[in-house]
């Protein structure tokens, strides 16, 4: 019940923000929301199951390309809902197949194998020009037209749709984290041998987490492509995978809101810098270094620590008069 209220509140805030913000900030908010969903999928593996994927762009790009190709080439008569569904199923099947191989590796090897996976798709997207448009990218992707939501300010129903979907996915993942399944992922990050001894099939749990994570990443990829009405092989690139990992670290791995905060912070800083200077990548690097040095556990934990120490200071001040009275 309380959870439902929180979801409704989040929806209200997100939709109001999208309605009242100026155009520049509204598009920024929508982009950040899509990246937040992508980042949420990465953090399910990174912050919970303890698997660092350096190739999540594979699923993000695959989802986006599948929906993009279906839309641009008008291969389906069913519209965006059917295109999205097909894209998500394609990503799920792909992840289910490669997961069997990829999850045999651990640690750094897992990072390398996932990176290789994304690079293969990147190469494939470059080469198969007939299907993907190659390095020119793919244009002519129709953005979903949402009849009722289009009546909201800005006249772009798709923005509002994205916000609703992102909030719903966050709520579902929150439930997932609190379920026995979510606890099992956290457990196997802490000790695989203990989880085995407790009767948990460690590989199966990792595998399910991998597929669920890929599906969420693929869904985010679909939303991203509809948003841009364009897709490019770079959606498969290591820069995409690295960017989303950095967002997870900026926000704080293993927290629900971390991916949202990380995405908002990175997209916000990046766009602001890009608007100010052509050489935005240099200050962006400094931003990452500052985060690592000042808030190694991410923005969310940093703010929590600040709040905690402020509360302690307040408690000390309240106790101080008593101590003074005792001495007097």
């Amino acid at each position: 019940m309380r959870g439902l209220l929180v979801v409704l509140a989040a929806l209200a805030i997100g939709l109001t923000a999208a309605a009242v913000l100026p155009v520049f900030y509204r598009t920024l908010l929508v982009q950040a929301a899509i990246w937040a969903m992508f980042c949420l999928s990465v953090d399910l593996l990174l912050g919970h199951a303890g698997l660092t994927s350096l190739g999540h762009a594979a699923f993000f790009g695959l989802g986006g390309y599948t929906a993009g190709i279906l839309s641009a080439r008008k291969l389906l008569a069913g519209g965006w809902l059917l295109e999205t569904l097909v894209a998500v199923v394609v990503v799920a099947v792909f992840a289910a197949a490669v997961g069997l191989l990829v999850l045999r590796a651990r640690g750094t090897y897992f990072m390398m194998v996932t990176l290789a996976l994304a690079q293969i798709l990147w190469g494939a997207a470059q080469v198969s020009r007939g299907l993907t448009g190659g390095d020119d990218g793919l244009r002519g992707i129709a953005r979903p037209d949402i009849p009722l939501l289009s009546l909201l300010p800005g006249g772009n129903g798709y923005y509002y749709l994205v916000i609703v979907l992102v909030v719903v996915v966050f709520a579902l993942v929150h439930l997932l984290h609190r379920s026995p399944f979510g606890y099992a992922l956290n457990g196997l990050r802490q000790s695989e041998t203990r989880m085995e001894a407790l009767g948990y099939n460690v590989f199966l749990y990792k595998y399910l987490a991998f597929v669920i994570s890929a599906v969420i990443a693929g869904f985010a990829g679909v939303l991203f492509v509809y948003y841009n009405q364009y897709t490019h092989p770079n959606s498969f690139s290591i820069l995409t995978s690295a960017q989303v990992l950095l967002m997870a670290f900026v926000g704080g791995p293993g927290t629900l809101l971390g991916p949202g905060i990380g995405a908002l912070a990175v997209i916000g800083v990046q766009d602001t810098l890009a608007a100010a200077t052509e050489r935005w990548q240099l200050p962006m690097g400094l931003f990452y270094i500052a985060v690592v040095l000042l808030m190694p556990r991410g923005v969310l934990e940093f703010v929590r620590d600040l709040a905690r120490s402020a509360a302690q200071r307040k408690a000390r001040l309240e106790r101080a008069p008593d101590a003074a009275a005792e001495q007097g």
Binding site: P180, Y183, G187, R194, A197, L198
Partner: protein, 251 residues
């Protein structure tokens, strides 16, 4: 007729090293068996073979009338074979209650519980709370495990094994690294265990003699002797391995 837990010619090699070989263990239902032996005798390797954390290179393991040699560790846990670890192996970031519910859930639950919160699984939670009440950990139930004293963590290792609704518990050095007082508490806890089959590795021989009905002595990966505590104590081969330590240690 096979025993409740039985191994035949059980062995494990690491390269050229035969860490465990030709072990024929036969533990009856309800028995409390101690496994002793000098450092490097293969006791913990034997435990890993029994729990499924290592695969044997030779031989078979039978448990409750079933050949479990090929079962993975998690499958063995689900047949009622629980274990504790020599070096405390708890899910440090969880609370005491959360880990106990996970232990209850791990025995019978499915991997497909995605949406209902862990602590809303009522039968499992009730069982976990009942155990924490019985074992005096009620006050600590909402504490993160990493905040517990080492003694409480060792006790929790045993409670977690019990939460798995086991038929047999493998206890790997339950009092290792504990102070005298903490050690007495854990021993008292093991004595209070319900009527379960127990296999116990222990370094402290006085502890073993206090807790078990029978003893298997291991040396250099092999079973040296098995029998009641008295016959084992009098066995000249055992005395030789321990350089007379047994006779002096136990009055």
């Amino acid at each position: 007729m096979v025993s409740f837990l039985q191994t035949t010619r059980l062995g494990r090699s690491f390269g050229g090293l035969r860490a465990v070989r030709d072990v024929a263990l036969a533990v009856e239902r309800g028995e409390r068996r101690g496994i002793i032996g000098p450092n490097g005798a293969g006791k913990t390797t034997l435990f890993h073979l029994l729990s499924g954390h290592l695969k044997p290179t030779e031989g078979q393991i039978w448990f409750d009338g079933r050949d479990i040699t090929r079962l993975a560790a998690h499958q063995r846990a689900r047949t009622g074979l629980a274990r504790s670890f020599q070096i405390t192996n708890l899910l440090q970031e969880m609370t005491v209650l959360e880990m106990c519910v996970m232990a209850v859930y791990g025995r019978h639950g499915t991997p497909f519980a995605f949406l209902r919160p862990l602590l809303d699984h009522h039968p499992e939670r009730a069982r976990a709370e009942e155990l924490l009440d019985t074992w005096g950990l009620r006050e600590l139930r909402n504490a993160p495990i990493q905040a517990l004293s080492y003694g409480d963590q060792r006790l929790l290792e045993i409670v977690v094994a019990l939460a798995q609704d086991p038929q047999l518990i493998l206890l790997d050095e339950p009092t290792a690294g504990l102070s005298q007082v903490e050690s007495r508490q854990v021993i008292a806890a093991i004595k209070r265990l319900p009527h379960l089959t127990l296999v116990l590795i222990e370094h402290d021989l006085s502890v073993v003699f206090e807790l078990v009905d029978s003893i298997t002595v291991m040396n250099q990966g092999q079973e040296l002797a098995t029998g009641t505590p008295d016959t084992v104590r009098m066995d000249p081969r055992v005395q030789q391995v321990y350089l007379g330590e047994l006779v002096e240690d136990v009055p």
